[in-house]
Symmetry: D2
């Protein structure tokens, strides 16, 4: 399958499939199996689930009489699509040793080939355009799981007493970026998109107007050094910076630093995909919850930007040469962008103050696709900008990522804003 | 104390204090003690907590050497103000038999008198204007607890096997209101307020601009009859109407109707403050969660309004003669308002699709008052419009109420909207 | 009802009924309502449940057409008799304000009178002897709830920040009793009973043989002073004294002393039914769990006695003039019994090392009575000897009390034993 | 290492080590990693933990300056010995992918060789006899984990939707055994042991007298057919057979059959180490909890035997040719033993009515070995007789196994008894 296809759709598909597998190439068999937290999935589950997605939405879509590769996979590798039948309990994905990694790689290979066959043989089919659309959803879906794979492997490895390196090598050194605030003048703007191509998720639509009351947004991400100062001045001990539920959580779980920070003899280290490394003071702080991001902002006398502010800022100050996973970097790095906002695209997903909800004019799609994004619009917050683990081709500045406010195993960071 | 004062501030204060007590006049001693759910507080706790609030923010404010009525009350009747010291665990307020109701009524009487004394003796004090502001917060706070008292008494009584009537009498008959949708044209609007008088909470400020993309809002609340149809057509059985967390909740708690509905031999009844009553088909459905409200809207092919839409609609279509607690009604009633939106003010709090968050330009106040509203801006949704249990003088159309999406013991209802 | 009857059965019945009510005479109405822990019941529930028991097993037994006082009481005041229909959830007894204390006292009065009427009118009835047997079970049942009332009131009051005294007065001073061990020679013994009169519970039967391998039992209970030494020498910090589940529990709940002990400026106090009192060093330690009792014994180089050892010791060394509730003492007191084992009867229930199980030859009774004792024979441990809160007439040396090993709100104490 | 040693201790040691590994020979790498339930451990953990045990109690015992193979293993592979330092949380053993199976097998190989070296080089050491004793404990410990490996692999595989066979082949057919009850006459007996060689666990000591009140014990185990009748006649629906906590558990977990039973179109199947097989009506019922065993006995009008009865019966009616794991059978089989009690030794562990506690005269050993058995003597029940998964050389009729009454993933069965 290493041979790229001439056809752009096929090429993109094969590229995504190959890249997923390449992310796992240094794993031991045992590493594919474990699920160290209910939010995490075993790497082998990601390999199989993304494959099942193509089986359902491409192979079965074009051929209603399609015989599934293995009927039990419809249960095991359905994540949460109630309209597609029962699914395995999410928190117990790590209870299963079978199918083996080898069986899943065989499954991947066979389905990849079948998808290619379908694409080559059905170009005249009346549903071919819809088939291509589903293919594109499947590719974008697989790209999301590429980032999840890195998040989940990092989480699994972080538990270990020994220092496991997902990759040899080390993080790039971050630049010091002097703090500036960029003005976003008050007035009417448009955000969101109506474009169909290149691909957009339903939750990015429709394009609509919004009114900005005038604010300023930081030219850089909050750094490890900034966040260490928050800790040192009692940030985790003073309720006045915190939301009530966030404060209760940090008491209950006894939290006092970002997820992967470790203190050794007065120095801060962090667990990274390169193993345990000394904290780079200029690197952007990562693996913080929405609660921590908001508390930090309150302590700073600032606030988080809204997602509207973020997108409007990106329309004029974005730098498309961000740190994405195409760079093969495995740690977020601050780098100065003269004349624009640094690290706005890539590097880290930036928490916004906006809860994740439907844009004006949005309607939940019918069928299984209606379960993709629309059923998660309660209790979550929007993150913007992509991360070093996001594929470049997967990203656009209308992209809306979302997590619960307590979560912090994703590659999340903080950018501050303030009212005029 | 029954004698009203000539001074408007004192008059308003005495009125609020007296009204709270009047809400409890038909309770048995035992009814003051129980806490049937962690969200609920025992009625005697409400009586004491509102008193403690005046003790802290009026008596202690003007006299730093003030000797508390009983030092243990600082713990027992502090709800959750971390800046004011330790507080009793909220879910265990019903574990305490002491102080007795009699002791708490004595506490009320003494603090009420001392507040009056302070108001009469300190009119020349340099902090007198701030004292009046704190008094007004205290009055508004007590009014909120008047509604909470009715909510909590209803919740406590609803558990009983026997049919407890908080009040003799019965609900008014609701009118049938033909469905219409009122257009809210797209464009710039202002919402929120900068007014200081009459009193506003901090979360209603500042006044700011917003852009509406054009929509329509229903002229009436969703009725019991509407909601029964949702149930009858499988509304609680079809995941496609529900948010994922909402669906998980109704499975786990086996929910299939609003909180107080009871089915007897194919007829729906509801537990009300008048006891168990047959469901009035034209009355507005109440005691629904945000999940239920959104699922109903999805089933209807509509959506919930945003809080901006609600407030903009209220600016031109509001009817200030709503059903508030001044009417002494104890059940929500639909009544047709010709030429305007029915039941927009009073009757029931209307769920919006807006998560509860800070307005542009809002800053969390310093000190204990910063814990009043600002620390609850995570994970909750805004309700607008007041209810039959809200004092008329407590309400204004900029008022923002907020609850968690699973909660339904408050007097919540549903109004639909749709995009143009 | 204050007038005692000439008939012994009626006299005993009236005495038990009156005594229960006398235990509540100093309570405020509010004190009757609360349930501060799932193991505890509100005092008004005890008053009603014991009444329901007579309604079921006396009034309904003799008259199958009996009309219940209030049908809802069959649910509310059935504790856990599955064979008698559904029952209210035990942990939510404190969620109910109704029926009121006054209504329950009326219920008591009416049922008491009806029982007397039945006893007087049915002496010729063919089931009269069985009626008397059920009456006796009901009286013994009510006596058990007299002790539970004191346990539960103490638990409820103990939560209070203020110092509530169930009774004015103070504990008697305990005597210092020099430690001796009494030999129990190896050999065959009989324990248990086949007697029908005076009343015995089914779990005390049948009389059967057991073999003792030879041991010694302490002449006194473990004192507060003994237990303080256990604490001071790290008893709660050293896993080597503890059972694994006990150790996990004290870590999880952060336990470091008996239930009602309070340390103030280096001195130990304890919450008692007389209010907070300084710890009497010679008084027996009380409110310890089985885990604590065993850990103390291990630390002492001794062990707990088996229930067989306890009963055999009691056959020859018991002192029937123990401290029972007839003395109106409300705190356990050590008092030297020359020539016999001190405080063996009354004072405190003594943990044994025996798990609660059926005696050889025991069969679970049919019907509701089979739920009285036999369904609790899993996971509990036997306590022997009665306490200062047990009615004297309720006790005999074959009596088997039982609690879960983590529980400590009952009047439990420790007596040590050792092998020869 | 395949070459057996001439020295009996070394031979036995090597035999145990080799047998453990042979149990895993058909596993996929993935199968070594998962932990499908908190009670279960990943197979690779068993391989490492048993090795760590020899490292601690043999290598470190004889050489206090011993350098551990890997210091982190002291945490990871310490099960629960508080006296040997911190240990990994039991319920999260399956969260770790590392060390890999290969690394653990290297660990095993190296420690096995070092133990052999120590045995060969230290025969003149003053502590040599104690070394041999620790070696024997280690071998017995490893044998216990051989049975645990089979229990845990079965539990892990049972979750799978597909039919995983730990072994090809199938269960032997069970014989029908006519029901008889064997009399155990009343009188004094001795049970337990003082023997040091062959090896006994501390909890089997000391030998002591007990008195039997006279009973009968069944000549056979309860069969699948017997248990199916219990189910068919409403055994799981009638509270009158159940202990209160057992009843609550089956309601909460919705249990209605033994652990691995599966109903397909009116026929019962069971998941076995051979995969899913049709239920053999004459085979002994297995994987029942103590609650289920007691409920079945109550339904039968019988009871479970005490552990004393079991051991006394075994002294005269035991058949040492039982079904142990040396037979390589992987499923329990009933086979008639003329003139003695069938399947008393091996086949299945038999629940007794005895809670697990210390024998008269037993003292908890000092140090880490005191944590082996003595700290689990609370809340558990004794099982006797060994199972088809127990090594023959590990078993003796004084052996006391113990589990919590709700557990059923071990190879547990039921034998009935009755009073004379």
């Amino acid at each position: 399958m290493g041979v790229p296809s001439d056809d752009p759709a096929q090429h993109k598909f094969l590229e995504a499939r190959t890249f997923t597998e390449s992310l796992c190439q240094n794993l031991e068999i045992e590493d594919f199996v474990v699920q160290s937290h209910p939010d995490v999935s075993p790497p082998k589950w990601h390999l199989a689930h993304t494959t099942w997605f193509f089986e359902k939405f491409v192979l079965e879509f074009i051929n209603p009489n399609y015989t599934p590769f293995n009927p039990s996979y419809n249960v095991l590798f359905n994540s949460y699509y109630k309209s597609l039948g029962p699914h395995w309990k999410q928190s117990e994905r790590g209870h299963l040793s079978r199918p083996t990694v080898k069986e899943i790689l065989t499954y991947r290979k066979e389905i990849t080939q079948k998808v290619i066959d379908v694409l080559q043989k059905h170009s005249g089919h009346p549903e071919y355009q819809n088939l291509l659309l589903n293919l594109e959803i499947g590719i974008n879906h697989e790209q999301q799981h590429q980032e999840l794979l890195l998040m989940d492997i990092k989480r699994n490895f972080s538990l270990s007493i020994s220092n496991i390196q997902y990759s040899k090598g080390s993080a790039k050194i971050s630049e010091h970026i002097p703090q500036k605030y960029i003005e976003l003048p008050g007035g009417e703007y448009s955000i969101g998109t109506n474009q169909k191509s290149p691909f957009r998720f339903d939750n990015e639509t429709p394009k609509h107007k919004t009114y900005l009351n005038g604010s300023r947004i930081s030219n850089r991400l909050v750094t490890n050094s900034d966040f260490a100062e928050f800790i040192d001045t009692g940030g985790y001990k003073n309720y006045s910076y915190w939301q009530s539920v966030g404060w209760d959580l940090i008491q209950k779980e006894d939290l006092s630093s970002p997820l992967y920070w470790v203190k050794k003899e007065n120095d801060w280290y962090e667990k990274s995909l390169y193993g345990i490394q000394k904290l780079d003071p200029n690197a952007p702080v990562s693996h913080v919850s929405h609660f921590e991001a908001e508390a930090f902002a309150e302590w700073s006398g600032k606030r988080l930007p809204t997602e509207e502010e973020w997108e409007i800022a990106s329309q004029t100050h974005g730098n498309s040469n961000g740190q994405f996973c195409d760079s093969r970097d495995l740690s977020p790095t601050s780098s100065l962008s003269e004349n624009c906002i640094s690290n706005l695209f890539g590097t880290l997903w930036e928490w916004t103050s906006s809860s994740y909800s439907a844009y004006p004019g949005y309607r939940r799609p019918k069928g299984a696709i209606g379960e993709y994004n629309a059923k998660f619009m309660s209790g979550q917050y929007v993150l913007r900008g992509g991360s070093f683990a996001t594929p470049r081709s997967h990203f656009r500045n209308t992209y809306r990522n979302f997590y619960y406010p307590h979560q912090r195993w994703m590659f999340s960071g903080i950018r501050l804003a303030e009212d005029l």
